[in-house]
Structures are given as structure tokens and as C-alpha cells.
């Protein structure tokens, strides 16, 4: 609503103001702001920093301009073609670097920008360093997007800017926004919950490049002359980053605000200082980025937010230890089977031909000394590590070495030993990220969470005693509460098999009781659990069956009582 009002208000401005200096500045705000909003999708929401957005801007400008000058193609067609090319280029870079650590993507975009500029400077088809003059078509103004006054450009720029704002606003309020933020905050945890993170990052990258390219097309239409120094300059890449960063990345209005601030500052210092102003504003921007990196990574909007009073974190009141609920009864059906799994790290065998069977409806305990390979086993089952040999079979389907989200889709979800939640999302949002992702398309992700899903998330929060903290960022919860939240997230996925890696480690003893009761109750409802646990009393209270691992091998298997008395287990634990 406020968005509509803002755009309508801006559209009325030219009725009152005809000052061409102002209109020119405003057009720059709209066009660079569109590119900054595009940058924000990948750099702000998804947390993948691009330092080469000038490439996409330039590709957009060049594609439509070349099509227009050489083939007389309308920019209405040339613009989308340019956007498609930019998307293609961005996906190549993204696909090559998104699976690596973050700096690789940043480097690749930086390099891409440099290379593209050199290529265009030497490419005679696009007039190399001479640049392209767009032929004037003042007869078919709307068809050729060419006018002899500034007001139509103002309105066209505003339309594109509004579209970019609307897209960002839409992303922000649908699942897509949550998924991108979660991917940014902890990609592994997101994968473990079944989120195909690569797909969403690529989507954000593509949308981002398309917006920048469309802004480039309109820019070329406005200035009527382009060369690699203007539309592919590192200055544009920088401006776009600075705008998003200073305004507040990962927010809807931040980049727009930043664009207005930066362009106006730039234009006015230039008129005030003449040609001297050129470099000085960039020194200032550089210093500003450093300061923001140190003191306020969330930008100007973050500064504003900081001023607001902080919500107090509600404390969970401890409940009287209730009698343990009955646990479920294991079925004969095998839910998860591990066959001959081996994994070596250098010369060390972390797992040595491990066989494991998990029956539907049982709670399976996994015990053993530190370094026995328990967590590595979880990693290999859930696709975080690629086993050297052996198979992982879920419901009869071989899922060995598939990506983690594929395992989650098949119904196997894990938690981590050191708890991993999305610290800047609220408890409720954390659960919404954990909704089932199997068969979810990008189009579905572009819708808000379904009411039924939201209701289930609320119910789960109540069930684990976090209802009062639903609006609290997960990073501000206590460690024990985060563990409980992580369990609730695993439940939210509706996966029938849940792997818990030391659910009670680091948790307050009063909460452990509650956790054990929760797991037993869930098991009674039919969930299957595999639990790595060091507290023997917890194992005794939970597990139907126990595997004992040491040195990467399964040494014993059976009921907790039987395994406890096994001589090998005694030897491994007590050394006699």
C-alpha cells in the first residue's frame, strides 16, 4: 500500500517540477536504483556479493542498442533479449561458483566485469572503444522509447523502478524471501531441511541480472550514446553496491533509499566542486563502506532499527517433570538401511564397512566414544560427506551421495551437534523455512506460506514451549531453546525419519527431561528417530535398540541392556 502511494506520488512530481537538473538526477536514481534493487536480491537476500553488476547493466544496454542500430529492432524486444543474455551469463557464473565458498563468487564477478569491459573495448561489431550512437527515432516515440523531453523518460524510469520495488516487496513477503535469507545465514542447515539452495540462489542471480540489464537498456535509450567506459565501468558496479549497502541490504526500501541518497549527493557535489568532485565522492563512499562493515552491516535502515527498543526475550518457565509418555512400537518395515559404508580422511578410517538398519517407528541409539565416527555416519547418510564405498537406501531407493536436500525430500532429516538455526529469522520464520520442500517449484516459493503451514508452525511452537518467543530472532534464544527449535524444525519437515546429533548436549538438565518426553511422545505418534547420545540415561529412556560404534566400526548391536553388558563395549569405555 505504501509502495503504491510512493509510486503514485512520484508519478505526479513532473506536473509540478520541470527543472531538468532535478529530472535528470531522478532518472538516474530510478535506473541505478533498479540495478541496486537487482543487486540486493542476490547480494542482500541471498548474501552472494557481486562486484560486477556493471556487466549485466552493460549487456542490457549493448544488446538493445546493437539490435536497434544494426537491425532496427524496437527496444521493447531488445530489452528482454538483453535481459535474457544477462541472465544466461549470470547463471554460468553462479553455477560455477555457488557451490564454493562465498569469496569465489565475489572474485568471479569482479573478474567477469574486467574481462567483459576489455572484450567490448576491442570488439568492432559493437564499435569497440568508439562507442555506439543510437539512431534517433522521434516519430515512433513509444515504439522506440525515444523522446525529446525528460518527463517521459522520468515516467519510464519510474515504471521500471516501481516494477523492481514490487518484485523485491513480493520476494520479501513470500517464501522466496525466507528461503534466500535462510540460505544466506546457514546454507548447510537450509539444505539439511530440504531446501534446494543452489536453485534459489540461481533464481535470485537471474532475477538480479535481468533487472540490471533492463535498467541498462533504458539508460542507453536515455543517453543515446554508450561505450564500455560508461555502461561497463567498475564505477557502476561500485555505485550499485554502495547504494544497496548504505541504504540497507536485504530490505525492500534500503537500496531505493540508498540510490536517492547517493545519486543526489553525487550530483550536488559535482555541481558544487566542478570536475574536482568526481573522485572525492568515491573516497567518501569507500570510507563509508568500511565504516558500515565495521559498525552497522545492515546500513542506514539498520541504524534506524537499532534506535528502537529491544524486545525482551521471554523466559521459558520450567514445568514439573511429568511422567514419561509411552513410546512407540517398531514395525518390521525398514525405513533406512546403510550397507557397507566406508569413509576415509587421509589415512584415517572414519567409517569401516558400517551396516545399519533403521526400522520404521523405532528409536535407534547410536553410542560410542568420541571420534567413533557417529557424526561422520550422519554426514554420509545425509549427503554432507560422500562415502568412499557403500550404499544408503531409503524406502528401497538408493540415495548414496545425493545432495542433502534430496535426502530430506526422501524423508530423512538431520539436526546438527552444534545447533544450527537461522539466527536472524524469528522462531516462527525458522519453522516456515522448514516446511516440506518436496515437489515445491520456484513458482510456489513465490507465494506466501500457506495458512495451513503457518498454523502447523504455530502449533509446533506451542508444543515445544516456544510460543511466547515466536517473534524473537532465533539467535537471541538460549542455547537450549535453539536446540528445541532445531528439533521443531526437523518435525516441521514432516520427514518420517529424524537423525538427532546429540540433542541433549549443552542443554540445561531441566530441559533434558522435557526433550526426552517430547521425543518419546513423537515416537508414539509414529516418527522414527536415530539419536547420537552420550548420556546413557537418555539412551536408556529412549532407545529400542542401540548400535555401538568405535574406531569407525559397529562393535555391538542390541537392546540398551544387552549392549551395556557387551565385553567389547565395556572395554572401549572402561578399558578392561
Amino acid at each position: 500500500m505504501s509502495l503504491l502511494l510512493l509510486v503514485a506520488g512520484l508519478a505526479l512530481v513532473p506536473l509540478a517540477v520541470r527543472d531538468s537538473f532535478f529530472l535528470n538526477a531522478a532518472i538516474h536514481v530510478f535506473l541505478l536504483g533498479t540495478a541496486a534493487l537487482g543487486w540486493n536480491l542476490i547480494g542482500g537476500y541471498a548474501g552472494q556479493l557481486s562486484f560486477g553488476h556493471a556487466v549485466f547493466f552493460g549487456v542490457g544496454a549493448y544488446t538493445s542498442s546493437v539490435l536497434l542500430t544494426r537491425h532496427g529492432v524496437w527496444p521493447w524486444v531488445g530489452g528482454p533479449v538483453g535481459a535474457a543474455l544477462a541472465v544466461g551469463l549470470s547463471l554460468v557464473i553462479g553455477a560455477a561458483t555457488f557451490r564454493l565458498r562465498r569469496h569465489f563468487f565475489a572474485l568471479a564477478t569482479l573478474a567477469l566485469a574486467e574481462i567483459t569491459r576489455i572484450t567490448f573495448l576491442n570488439w568492432t561489431y559493437v564499435e569497440a572503444a568508439i562507442g555506439l550512437y543510437l539512431p534517433l527515432h522521434y516519430r515512433g516515440r513509444l515504439a522506440y522509447l525515444m523522446w525529446d523531453g525528460k518527463v517521459p523518460y522520468y515516467l519510464a524510469g519510474l515504471a521500471l523502478f516501481a516494477a523492481a520495488l514490487a518484485l523485491t516487496w513480493w520476494v520479501d513477503r513470500t517464501r522466496m524471501g525466507l528461503y534466500l535469507k535462510a540460505t544466506n545465514q546457514d546454507a548447510d542447515a537450509a539444505e539439511a531441511l530440504g531446501l534446494p539452495t543452489l536453485r534459489y540462489k540461481l533464481w535470485a542471480m537471474g532475477a538480479s541480472a535481468a533487472l540490471a540489464a533492463l535498467a541498462g537498456t533504458l539508460y542507453a535509450q536515455y543517453v543515446l550514446y554508450i561505450d564500455p567506459y560508461t555502461v561497463m565501468a567498475s564505477r557502476i558496479s561500485l555505485l550499485v553496491v554502495v547504494m544497496a549497502l548504505i541504504g540497507g541490504r536485504g530490505t525492500v526500501f534500503g537500496p531505493a533509499l540508498g540510490a536517492a541518497f547517493i545519486v543526489l549527493l553525487s550530483e550536488y557535489t559535482r555541481t558544487a566542486l566542478g570536475h574536482l568532485g568526481q573522485g572525492y565522492d568515491f573516497i567518501l563512499f569507500g570510507a563509508l563502506i568500511m565504516l558500515l562493515a565495521i559498525y552497522e552491516p545492515r546500513g542506514l535502515l539498520g541504524l534506524g532499527r537499532r534506535a528502537r527498543p529491544h524486545r525482551a526475550v521471554p523466559v521459558v518457565e520450567g514445568s514439573a517433570p511429568a511422567p514419561l509418555p509411552a513410546s512407540g512400537t517398531p514395525q518390521d518395515r525398514v525405513a533406512l538401511r546403510v550397507e557397507g559404508l566406508s569413509k576415509r580422511f587421509g589415512g584415517v578410517a572414519a567409517l569401516e564397512a558400517v551396516d545399519l538398519v533403521v526400522r520404521q517407528g523405532e528409536v535407534l541409539g547410536l553410542i560410542g566414544p568420541n571420534g567413533a565416527g557417529k557424526s561422520t555416519l550422519f554426514d554420509c547418510i545425509t549427503g554432507f560427506q560422500r562415502p568412499d564405498r557403500g550404499r544408503v537406501v531409503v524406502d528401497g531407493a538408493d540415495l548414496t551421495a545425493r545432495p542433502p536436500h534430496a535426502l530430506a525430500h526422501a524423508g530423512v532429516v538431520r539436526t546438527f551437534q552444534l545447533v544450527r538455526v537461522f539466527p536472524e529469522l524469528t522462531a516462527l520464520e525458522n519453522l516456515l523455512v522448514a516446511q516440506p520442500h518436496r515437489g515445491e517449484s520456484v513458482w510456489q516459493a513465490l507465494r506466501p506460506p500457506a495458512p495451513a503451514v503457518r498454523a502447523r508452525a504455530e502449533a509446533l511452537l506451542r508444543r515445544v514451549g516456544l510460543a511466547a518467543s515466536r517473534e524473537v530472532p532465533a539467535g537471541e534464544l538460549s542455547y537450549g531453546q535453539q536446540k528445541v527449535l532445531a528439533l521443531a524444525m526437523a518435525l516441521m519437515t514432516q520427514a518420517p525419519v529424524i537423525l538427532l546429533d546429540e540433542p541433549t548436549a549443552g542443554v540445561h538438565p531441566a530441559l533434558i527431561q522435557e526433550l526426552v518426553a517430547q521425543i518419546r511422545a513423537l515416537n508414539a505418534e509414529g516418527r522414527t528417530f536415530v539419536v547420537i547420545e552420550h548420556h546413557m540415561e537418555v539412551v536408556n529412556a529412549l532407545a529400542h535398540r542401540v548400535y555401538f560404534l568405535a574406531g569407525g566400526r559397529v562393535l555391538a548391536e542390541g537392546t540398551p541392556e544387552a549392549v551395556r553388558q557387551d565385553p567389547q563395549v565395556l572395554h572401549a569405555y572402561y578399558g578392561h
Binding site: 574481462i115 573516497i283 563502506i289 562493515a293
Partner: protein, 285 residues
């Protein structure tokens, strides 16, 4: 054939200089996992320092090195103390932003101070060329390559033969353990910055007799340094050496075979190829 050998020779000499630029990038990443996007800006500043020493005082680059080197060691040290230390605990995103801001701060400060003109030195003791059979070797290029090789040898001795060097290696392997062993990790980080920036500055000094400086010279060198580090392997000294020579060879040989204008394109192609095929680099684990 002669042309190819000549190109390879040029590539090898220039590659050693690239390796010297890449060294700091790799060392800093290896010790504290920070990517310094502003790395090549220090190279640019060192080139300006060398230029002005020559232009104002007729100080030859050979003589300038002992002045410029400690200055840039100090600059690297300060960069760590003032900026990097404050974002060390922050998410990687903040660290990347911090050095990105630094890049623009330094580059446009140079613009403001020295203007956009390209500047070069023309009367150095390092001039002329040697003839080896049918091939030519430029004296300034040879000097730069030998200096680079010497710097790598010294660094190797420092890292493996001195207590401080070993402490630096220990910090790179595990900073927590290093701290419990009584190593002042903060000092080690600052030292890595000092050495890394000084190495880039050394490259800058010896580039000056055959290369021109402008405020944007860092663009190409940053790319080349990153390509070298990715080719050789992030975080190791040997990786920087192997990668730098590799990029020098690829650039010059393919440049001679195909088109010299697209030299950087080949460096970038290697960069992307390595990311796809072997992101840990040639000598990385």
C-alpha cells in the same frame, strides 16, 4: 617456434612478478581467511611512491626499494590494526565489504592526489636487453623476476628456519591451538599483512622501470593475482609461486598465439576453469 619460446620466456619472467603480487593475497588468506580485494591498490601506491621518488629526487628504483619496502610493511601492519582486526569476528560478508571499501578509498585517493594520467619512468639503471641466442631478455624484467625469486627464497627461509616464521605457520593451521601455545595470534595476523603488502610493494617497485602506473592499474593486477592464487591454490606460498608462473605463461603464450589484446581473457578463462575443475588449485589439498 622461436616466437613461442620468446613468449614463454617473457611469461616466465612476468609470472614471477605476478607470483610476488599473489603471495600476499595467498598468505593473508592462509593465515586468517580474509580475502583482500584492495591488495592490488597497494601495488599501485608503491608504483606511485617509486615514480615520485624518481620524478622528484631522481632516486632509481634499485635504491627506492629499501625505502618503499619498510613503508609498505608498516602500511600493511596498520591496515590490519585499524580495519581488518575489527571485522575479523564478523561474517565473511562484512570482511569482503571492508576490503572492497578499502579498494575504492585507496584508488580514488590516488585519483584525487595524482590525477588520472598514466605515468612512467624512463631513466633507470635497469634498462636495455640481453641477447641469449635468438632470444631477448629485457634487463628490467629479468631484474624484477630475480628479485621476486629472491623474495620467495627469503620468505621460505623465514617461514621454515625462524621461530616467528614457524609461529606464523602454526597460526595458519589452527589459531586456537596457536593461542594456547602462547603465540600472540594478533601479532601474527598483523605480520602476515605486513609481509603480504610489502611483497606487493616490492613487485610495484620493480615493475616501474617497464610498466606505467595509473590509479586504475590495480584492476588488472587484482584479477591476475586472484587468477594466480586460484590456479596455484588458496592459502599456500608455493601455490602463489606456481600459480603466478602459470598465469604468466598462459597469458603470454596464448597472447602470442591468438591475440595480445585478450591476454586477460585467458587469465580469466583459467580462473573459471580451475573453479569448475579443481577449486583447491594445483598444489592445494
Amino acid at each position: 617456434m622461436d616466437l613461442l619460446v620468446q613468449a614463454a620466456l617473457n611469461g616466465l619472467l612476468l609470472g614471477l612478478v605476478y607470483a610476488l603480487v599473489a603471495l600476499g593475497l595467498s598468505l593473508i588468506w592462509g593465515v586468517m581467511e580474509v580475502v583482500n580485494l584492495a591488495h592490488a591498490e597497494y601495488l599501485m601506491l608503491a608504483m606511485y611512491a617509486t615514480y615520485w621518488l624518481w620524478a622528484l629526487g631522481r632516486v632509481d628504483p634499485l635504491v627506492a626499494a629499501p625505502v618503499v619496502l619498510p613503508l609498505f610493511f608498516l602500511l600493511g601492519w596498520l591496515t590490519y590494526r585499524v580495519l581488518i582486526r575489527r571485522v575479523l569476528a564478523a561474517p565473511m560478508v562484512s570482511q569482503i565489504f571492508a576490503t572492497f571499501g578499502l579498494l575504492f578509498f585507496l584508488r580514488y585517493s590516488a585519483f584525487a592526489a595524482f590525477g588520472p594520467n598514466v605515468r612512467g619512468i624512463w631513466q633507470s639503471h635497469l634498462a636495455g636487453s640481453l641477447t641469449v641466442g635468438p632470444w631477448y631478455v629485457g634487463v628490467p624484467q629479468l631484474a624484477a623476476a630475480l628479485v621476486a625469486l629472491g623474495a620467495f627464497a627469503l620468505l621460505w627461509l623465514f617461514l621454515n628456519r625462524t621461530k616467528t616464521g614457524k609461529a606464523l605457520q602454526a597460526t595458519a593451521q589452527d589459531r586456537v591451538v596457536a593461542q594456547t601455545l602462547g603465540i600472540d595470534v594478533e601479532q601474527m595476523f598483523a605480520l602476515a599483512w605486513g609481509i603480504g603488502i610489502a611483497a606487493a610493494a616490492l613487485a610495484g617497485v620493480f615493475l616501474m622501470p617497464f610498466y606505467q602506473v595509473s590509479p586504475t592499474v590495480g584492476d588488472a593486477f587484482l584479477l591476475i593475482a586472484f587468477a594466480s592464487v586460484v590456479l596455484g591454490g588458496f592459502g599456500t606460498v608455493a601455490g602463489a609461486l606456481v600459480g603466478g608462473i602459470g598465469i604468466g605463461l598462459v597469458e603470454n603464450v596464448l597472447g602470442a598465439l591468438i591475440a595480445p589484446t585478450f591476454k586477460l581473457l585467458f587469465a580469466f578463462a583459467v580462473f573459471v576453469l580451475m573453479l569448475l575443475v579443481r577449486p583447491q588449485g594445483l598444489v592445494g589439498e
